[in-house]
Subunit: 529 residues, 2 copies
């Protein structure tokens, strides 16, 4: 899941007006087969284990993502899917860091917990210098520190003081939460705010990195946004030719804060930093994996199901998002295993570049669904294709646009499916209500009209196509796992993944058997200025 | 706080029979002065900051503990205490580790989070080898792996599987908890069980280390007992001449488990380990800091107050136990600042060697309070003086034993004082009930007859002297901080420390003004075999 200002999870008015009889159009015999296969012969843990334990973190552009592209393609083909392929998108250099060592060398020697920030250069050996505390969170702050940072290791985040830790670590949604989630939150510009926040966030960090490099700073040091040794190790979306020029690391919050406190005692505080980073420039494209179960009808619609395959690098990208990938792969494995013949084509998409802003899914939309002019606004100079095509008109549709039925996405950790966000689409919501009936007894029953953001379905929703994410149990995803070192297999809940794969397989099957395409919302039009 | 099988915090029958009028003998004018000084001119954060941020971890025998001994002595003298002194005890070599790097080098390269285990030797450069999974938890397990470990990096802990994290992270005791804590738990041999567990624990770990060294293992690797990157970095009590012979590190649980999972896929899993460790053999003694406020009476009793100054090395020993030391120091600073003239001598003791088994406090008892024969049982060959004197008779008392009134200890993190454990002493409990009256409005009101263990007051209690620990709010001490890397100033609650210092100052003042010594429990006698 991409970093987001506000991950909209809470959602208004339950649509109690729906009167479609539950289960009417659902083939319960097939749903039973799906449950049996998914619960008794599950491969989902092997898939998530292979991706996270064996392959490990899969930063967009890195060799590991490519390895995962190939392994997922081959695995899907082994299970009987066809047209396995990698679909590339322009991205820029890959990056890995093999080694990071950070020490406070004065006033006393302490080894610090740190992670390198993606796409920052290595140190070329051990770099050593005095620290300078220069908290900056808007470019107006640059003038305060101009001329003061040359030769310094610059601590750029404002010192956060003591905060009592939260007791909401492991969360399962209660019935009360789920009922509350059905209250529709009338749109109030949140999506536009989120978009603007993201652009400002990315732009400021590019400017900050440039400012530090111009000032001759030795390195940039950030404070982890989490405490108790958890480090969020995401980087910033990068544009080829705009890569950071000085090393950058994130310190464990406790270690960042101690260094600043010692500095405030007028002590000389010095750090040594040693980062081995490697850039990969042989292939400046990165890839998504696609494969199909072809529909039996002569002119089938397309039912898509996807999850992003890329990850950040602090952990193994297990919950974000090997879990989603494994559930998606398991859902289609189940359908192949029980040997269904869908009317419509089921297309699996395992995206690259999600964490940096939906590069893979946007490329798919650009290749197959819509043609739009690119925004040339200078404010977007650091942004990727999703932002450049955002709200740009005219929007010309391509042939697949008409054949497109629905897209389902998984990207909220390894918690089980409790329901689905219908993104304001009443007709789709009514259908989902029926589809959930065979899964009420495994916890999946809630349909909310609310929207949710922060991942690849937004690309499809934004161009007027039905695209949905599921409501999942959060577990410890938000509290500890998301983008940190502990996004590893240990934090994956096996029973939850099996449940999610079964529910998803049911949804995919139902979508692939629908007579009509999934009902759509009105076609997006240019917002009046 | 020493590691303990069971830290007895819950405690039975409230002694509602007491009818002493609250506040009768407490000088409320002095208590008001104490509150004013402690709340308005507090130095407690500066003390805890200096010990944890500036001096850092204070392993028994290390130069940093010595530095802390001197700094605390000088600070107490600066505040007007007299007879500042260091009291030594035989301990053995000091140890520090400046650097630890652990990488999984196969099947893929990943930097691991690790802490070296205290008193294990360094690696003399980078050590590299295949891992071997040999879970052992009793010495009967040794024969399973005999002949198989030569040249291997041995993973000695049993793989723990997924466990949902607890939502009890930050705990404040509720009124209900406190009422429940008053239910007296009739002794059922727990103290003896704790003692036996501790002896077995220490002995097994010595034997395990010897076994690995004899087998020619390259290094020992342990699994952290916590998850989410928290590492408990305690070592095992060491006896001079019995130091571990091969390097030993604890890995973050996620990293330990991943390595074992990869091994179970029949992959070759290799590690490189680089630990710089240094031993200090110039002074094989370590020290406690003592200082007094002399009593005005011609033949004053002794009121003692203490906390252990030593710590483990993963963090800065802030909550365990710079917090306790700072509260104790602040309490006597308050008494000096308000210029009281106590009838009896107030003696501050900041112990060394607590974490390895009460070395400093036991030495004090041996020097000044009792003479006992040492247990020569071979089962205790790895144990320190506390265990060797435990339940040994005859017990001959020394002159200070008669002058001794009471000992108060602080060692449960930085949470505020909610009451006191009376260790089964009804008469003392009745007195404490009165003494708490002026502090009810700041949360300290509970007297339980229950016992609590795991720290230095046990030395005094064990020889029949009144010695007590307070009931404190746990905060995140047990959940995250105790013996981990995050035992740093960030997890210290300032308001709580101020409260604790005020309550403790009140108790010390009252004890130092008592006409009689604190009532004692019956003198311990030899347990019939």
């Amino acid at each position: 899941m991409k970093l987001s200002l506000r991950i909209i999870l809470l959602l208004s008015f339950a649509f109690s007006c729906l009167s479609v009889q539950a289960g009417d159009e659902v083939d319960l015999a097939v749903m039973t087969q799906i449950r049996e296969e998914g619960f008794k012969n599950s491969q989902v843990m092997e898939t998530v284990s292979y991706l996270s334990d064996v392959i490990g973190p899969r930063l967009t552009g890195s060799p590991a993502l490519k390895q995962a592209n190939i392994w997922t393609k081959e695995t899907l083909e082994k299970w009987g899917l066809v047209n396995g392929r990698l679909e590339g998108f322009d991205f820029g250099p890959g990056w890995t860091a093999d080694h990071v060592s950070v020490f406070m060398t004065a006033p006393r020697n302490v080894q610090l917990s740190a992670l390198p920030i993606s796409w920052h250069p290595g140190t070329n050996g051990v770099l050593h210098g005095a620290i300078y505390y220069a908290p900056m969170d808007e470019n107006g702050d640059f003038r305060k520190y101009k001329g003061k940072l040359a030769g310094k290791i610059v601590f750029v985040d404002k010192l956060e003081g003591y905060q009592a830790p939260s007791n909401e670590v492991m969360i399962r949604r209660t019935e009360k939460d789920l009922i509350k989630s059905k209250n529709y939150r009338i749109p109030n510009g949140e999506q536009e705010e989120d978009f603007d926040w993201w652009v400002e966030y990315i732009t400021f960090h590019h400017e900050l990195e440039s400012f530090l490099a111009e000032e001759g700073a030795l390195a940039m040091v950030r404070q982890s946004t989490r405490d108790a040794m958890l480090i969020e190790a995401s980087g910033y979306k990068h544009i080829d030719g705009q890569l950071p020029k000085i090393p950058g690391v994130v310190l464990a919050a406790e270690h960042y804060r101690r260094a600043v406190r010692l500095l405030r005692r007028d002590m000389d505080v010095e750090l040594s930093i040693d980062v081995d980073a490697e850039f990969y420039t042989q292939d400046l494209k990165s890839y998504s994996t696609l494969a199909d179960i072809e529909g039996a009808l002569p002119n089938p619609n397309i039912v898509m199901v996807g999850a992003h395959l890329d990850s950040w690098v602090g952990g193994d990208g297990a919950a974000d998002n090997a879990a989603g990938v494994a559930v998606v792969m398991e859902a289609v494995r189940i359908l192949k295993a029980i040997n269904v013949t869908p009317h419509h084509t089921i297309r699996v998409a395992l995206w690259g570049g999600e964490e940096q802003g939906y590069f893979g899914s946007q490329q798919y939309a650009t290749n197959h669904l819509t043609e739009r002019p690119k925004n040339t606004n200078e404010d977007l100079r650091f942004m990727g294709p999703y932002e450049l095509y955002y709200n740009q008109f005219p929007m010309i549709t391509k042939p697949d646009y008409d054949q497109f039925s629905v897209y389902f996405n998984l990207d909220n950790g390894s918690g089980k499916i409790r329901g689905i966000y219908s993104e304001g689409n009443l007709a789709a919501g009514a259908i989902f209500k029926d589809w959930l009936v065979p899964f009420h007894d495994i916890g999946a029953a809630t349909v909310t009209m609310n929207i949710t953001g922060g991942t690849d379905h937004e690309v499809f929703d934004h161009i007027g196509l039905p695209a949905f994410q599921f409501i999942q149990d959060p577990l410890d995803y938000e509290s500890r796992v998301h983008h940190t070192q502990v996004d590893t297999l240990d934090h994956i809940a096996e029973g939850d993944l099996k449940q999610a794969a079964v529910v998803l397989a049911g949804f995919i099957y139902n979508a692939a058997m629908q007579e009509e395409k999934m009902p759509r919302k009105p076609l997006p039009v240019a917002t009046p200025e």
